[in-house]
Amino acid sequence: MNSIKFLYAAYIATWAIHAFYIGTLVRRFSRLRREMKELGKGK
């Protein structure tokens, strides 16, 4: 059974999903920090 490619696919998919989610968290963090800075400037 040539199953090794399925094993690698599952591991890669797992880390791809985690990386994508962490990427969205980083993007949201930077957007909120930028907004906070702008609000600070406005005062």
């Binding site: 059974m1 199953s3 399925f6 094993l7 599952a10 591991y11 998919a13 797992t14 985690h18 968290l25």
Partner: protein, 301 residues
């Protein structure tokens, strides 16, 4: 706390690398499935982590709903204590024991039942007020990520072993998909609803959603499924070396989930801070506009 984050991140990264090494190199090859069985070292810990996160979401949602009134809060405390006490006693009654699935130890069920009051009081103590809601949304979102991994890695394992990607009608698979859909709808509700009742509605939805978790977990005990029968905790016969790697892998994923939840929790707090600042700014703006308009609106005496 900010200093702890990089230290904990480094420990988690090391643990994940060690778990990967154990899963790919140290764990013995399965005699029937070959190497593809090693997917369980990611699939099963992800499922357990998702269940744990949905359980935290359930507890935080109950706490949030109960915190609306002081009388409800007191009543909920007593209900949780009674559930814990009655549940533990019931697990050791012979009449209840024969209802448990074959191979499932009453002590394991009693420990799980005891986790309900333990988590309830822990969450109530360390996450007061709005932080309960922040914890609920955090655990639901990270839980959905782990549940997605379960739904992706499962079919990747099934294709070479079963010959099909998905077994339509299989209760374990279907109930997991339903669980995922419930929590996705929970997140969609939170994301797009602007009503003042959103948090309450989401908490109520989360309580119903959590009812699916025991169905997913126990489905392989109570129903005939295509999904493999339990290999641990239910009279299974997993090789101790494989079990050892599975536990290491779960510990690594738990640390990783904790780290991600920590970041998501901070993000949600920052998000609410920004929203408050925006609201204050618009209030100040509206106040200034109103002040400026007062003399114009006054009729001359």
């Amino acid at each position: 706390m900010k200093r702890l984050f990089p230290i904990f991140s480094a420990i988690t990264a090391a643990l994940l690398a060690y778990a990967l090494y154990q899963a790919l190199v140290v764990a013995p090859t399965d005699a029937l499935q070959g190497d593809v069985y090693r997917i369980i070292y990611y699939h099963v810990p992800s499922a357990w982590t998702a269940f744990l996160l949905f359980f935290i979401n359930f507890i935080a949602s109950i706490q949030y709903l109960a915190s609306a009134k002081e009388s409800t809060q007191k009543a909920a405390k007593w209900v949780v204590i009674v559930i814990g006490a009655v549940g533990v006693i019931a697990c050791f009654l012979p009449q209840v024991q024969h209802l448990l699935p074959t191979g499932m130890r009453p002590s394991a069920v009693a420990t799980t039942v005891l986790a309900i009051p333990a988590f309830y009081f822990f969450v109530g103590k360390f996450f007061p007020g709005q932080r309960l809601d922040v914890l609920a949304v955090t655990s639901a979102e990270v839980g959905v990520v782990f549940c997605t991994i379960v739904l992706v890695t499962g079919p990747i394992w099934a294709r070479p072993v079963w010959g099909i990607w998905w077994a339509p009608g299989d209760i374990r698979l279907t109930s997991t998909l339903v669980l995922w859909l419930i929590y996705v709808s929970y997140l969609v509700l939170r994301r797009f609803s602007n009503s003042a009742q959103t948090q309450m509605l989401a908490a109520a939805l989360a309580v119903f959603g959590a009812l699916d978790v025991p169905l997913v977990y126990f489905s392989i005990w109570f129903f005939r499924t295509q999904h493999p029968q339990p290999v641990i905790g239910g009279g299974g016969s997993m090789d101790p070396r494989m079990l050892h790697v599975l536990v290491i892998s779960w510990m690594a994923f738990l640390c990783f989930a904790f780290l991600v939840c920590w970041s998501r929790f901070r993000l949600e707090l920052l998000h609410r801070e920004v929203e408050e600042a925006h609201a204050m700014e618009s209030l100040v703006g509206a106040g200034a506009a109103a002040k400026a308009s007062i003399p114009l609106n006054r009729s001359p005496k």
